[in-house]
Symmetry: C2
Subunit: 445 residues, 2 copies
């Protein structure tokens, strides 16, 4: 039995059924959709993806055709771990039933952060976490023709929504409480991100806390009150990210880890016998610190779901953990990170060095070479790479992957600086910028 019909839940359900066709697999999904890419929703708002249905990888019907008993509009409201039952509310009929399970996967995902501020329920203050959220933003743009939008939050989702609204011809202000956008980057790299956001035409308000939302007599939002003044708004999108949806698990007495997500081992088992967790509600191990961590990302949800499905079906597979790799773009600026930032490394107790190199995506003489900056963080005593960050132009973000593997493998900066990475004038200069950064980091040790 699976609670939650998105990436992790459906990956697990499908995998388990493929491995053991005799398994009865029931999936309860509160909403109307399965297997949709929440990370694609900003691009629907921006008009790059024409139809919100395009982000649905597989519909309930398609899953049912594969032998899965998918029940949409069904919310699990309680788990009894002793009786091995769940209490399920059918949202359409408003009836409640009790269903027994042998094995239960909790894949309840994450909940968008929606601060409890004055006026947050005004018309036109929207979130962007689900397909209905996305449809609501799109309809608001089509019907109300907003001139001015305010995006609250300067992380991944906030930047992606800001880009999307700019693409729709709306004047966008972005409000971020911290002094930089993308707080998951070091401040020096965050400053480069800020340049990219401003280059897109976004009015960026940093170090500015949202205090409330003002509305007119019709109940529609008119402005956002911030610690640095009021910003007029015909539309507000809250893009503050998410927290793990663990209330159901916590109420059932299932262990919540120090990251705030459901504690799991590498098999995606919780400490409670027969109960598994995967996806945005589940904890992972960070391979650099060795500590529990929580990172909500579709690619992890898919892998964890697959691993849980394999193991529930009697196989054996391990989700090894994460190194915190992430990527996005805002306008022409690509942004990527992996491992620990310099400040995260310090917070984790590492004596770390860092070095930054500026370079280009192609040979200097080859047209279209984009600038990129690579920062590498390494352990001082060993030279082991702890993390890396990239900010730059076109075709630079995915260069984080080789750095992600280097961090994963605890590669030293000296070794990295001599790797055999692909070189040809349309693709790189003779010294990849990341290798220069590694060499610089090595020279400081």
């Amino acid at each position: 039995m699976v609670i939650g019909g998105d990436a992790a839940g459906m990956s697990a359900a499908g995998r388990a059924k493929r491995l053991d066709d005799d398994l009865q697999v029931i999936v309860f999904e509160r909403g109307d959709y399965t297997s949709y890419a929440a990370c694609g929703l900003p691009y629907v708002v921006g008009g790059l993806v024409a139809d919100v249905a395009d982000v649905v990888a597989r519909t309930p019907e398609a899953h049912r055709a594969n032998g899965l008993d998918v029940r949409i509009g069904h919310e699990v409201v309680a788990i009894d771990t002793a009786a091995r039952t769940v209490t399920v509310r059918d949202l359409a009929g408003a009836t409640t039933s009790t269903d027994a399970f042998d094995e239960l996967l909790i894949a309840t995902g994450a909940t968008p952060i929606r601060p409890n501020l004055d006026g947050i329920d005004s018309d036109g203050v929207l979130g962007i976490h689900t397909i209905p959220d996305t449809v609501a933003i799109d309809e608001a743009i089509r019907s109300d023709h907003p001139d001015r939008a305010v995006v609250v939050g300067g992380g991944y989702i906030g930047l992606e929504v800001a880009e999307a609204l700019v693409a729709r011809g709306i004047a966008v202000s972005l409000v971020e409480a911290r002094d930089q956008p993308m707080a998951t980057m070091d401040t020096d790299m965050g400053a480069r991100v800020a340049q990219g956001v401003r280059a897109l035409g976004v009015d960026l308000h940093l170090g500015s806390a949202v205090e409330g939302f003002l509305s007119g007599t019709d109940g529609r939002v008119t402005a956002v009150a911030t610690s640095s003044g009021e910003l007029e708004a015909d539309l507000v999108v809250i893009g503050l990210g998410v927290r793990p949806a663990v209330d159901l698990a916590r109420d059932a007495g299932i262990t919540i880890g120090p990251s705030g997500a459901i504690a799991t081992d590498g098999h995606m088992r919780t400490p409670t016998d027969g109960i598994w967790a995967a996806g945005d509600c589940a904890q992972s191990r960070h391979l650099v610190t060795g500590e529990p961590t929580w990172i909500a990302l579709g690619t992890h949800a898919n892998k964890q779901g697959r691993v849980a499905g394999t193991n529930i079906a009697g196989g054996s597979e391990i989700f090894p953990g994460v190194v915190g790799t992430a990527i996005t773009k805002v306008g022409d600026t690509e942004i990527a990170r992996t491992g620990l930032t310099e400040s995260e490394a310090a917070a984790a107790g590492f004596d770390a060095v860092a070095a930054t190199a500026e370079g280009r995506s192609r040979a200097g003489y080859y047209p279209g070479a984009a600038p990129l900056t690579v920062k590498i963080v390494a352990e001082r005593s060993t030279g082991r790479m702890l993390g890396a960050q990239i900010v730059g132009g076109s075709e630079v973000g995915k260069r984080i992957d080789v750095l992600a593997l280097a961090v994963w493998k605890a590669t030293s900066v000296d070794e990295f600086s001599m790797l055999d990475l692909a070189y040809a004038p349309p693709f790189a200069p003779v010294w990849e910028t990341a290798m220069v950064a590694a060499r610089l980091a090595g020279s400081t040790i």
Copy 2:
């Protein structure tokens, strides 16, 4: 003392001088240029690089300003390893002198392969290895307005020249003796390259050996005779690649390795005391086979030169070896490889498995997603990744880098399939194609 003023020689000279300003560093260069990017020359022909001077990273004057004694137009014609002298011919004055050295770096580079065929010296049968070669091709195009060109050779240089000539509006035929272009790829991947070459409008003749060149009464080439018939040509470019330029070293009794290049250790020392070699004339170690190998590539030349310079100046640095990573593009098709192909793995005595996955560069619903195919070769007994190949559209070639590090680190396919690589809709699907290929390879073991 350094013989050869291109990437390896000048990297070494500059590095040694920076580390020890008291060193007297003399560089003999036969031609008129230093530190130029031979790999950029096709893009000069194609008009993407406006001026051939743009591919010169640093002129003799600039090197001299850094304290290096750079003597262009000076050819070293003999090395006396016992007397520790070189015999140098001043090509301008046609005088010869003898110069003593303490340490000697041989960085003589590579020689283009120019087959000894009837008519190869006809006007209009040109090579593309040096700046004068490139100027000659450009001048032939400007003055003779060729309608039809034949490119001989379907490897990296042949494909790049074919693309360049197409860009200049010339109808191009490409003749390759083997049954596929890019013989450094497996045949299944080579077939995809062939599609890309043909999509560019190149008339591709595979399994076709060049037998000679026909010319008119004016001595100008008119056609290329091949085993599959005559091809009319107003211009012929020989793009058969290079072999290491080792005659000078061999004549001096310096050991030539089994790869045909000068034997070196990780410090870039030859077995002869006080004699070093780096760049396209020097042998490397292949980190997958552990055997000597020879790969002519600017990025290795730069690294080997730097390592040699460090060590000559009394420091200690190691060039660890190579895994055979390479990349190029032809039209919209990007092509990359690392490690061993399936056939190379078999030839090296590995019991190998291979798996191929088809995917896209971005989430399927995100616009501009390019197709890509990734093939992974792994050792059957251990799952260790031995090599990988990529053919696809825009922004896929550099994805070889993470595979290059995986091969370098002897990562298993199972481990690779669970890596934390960067995911967001504009950059990748939730499962990177390379991870799918790794998983498939793992499932066959």
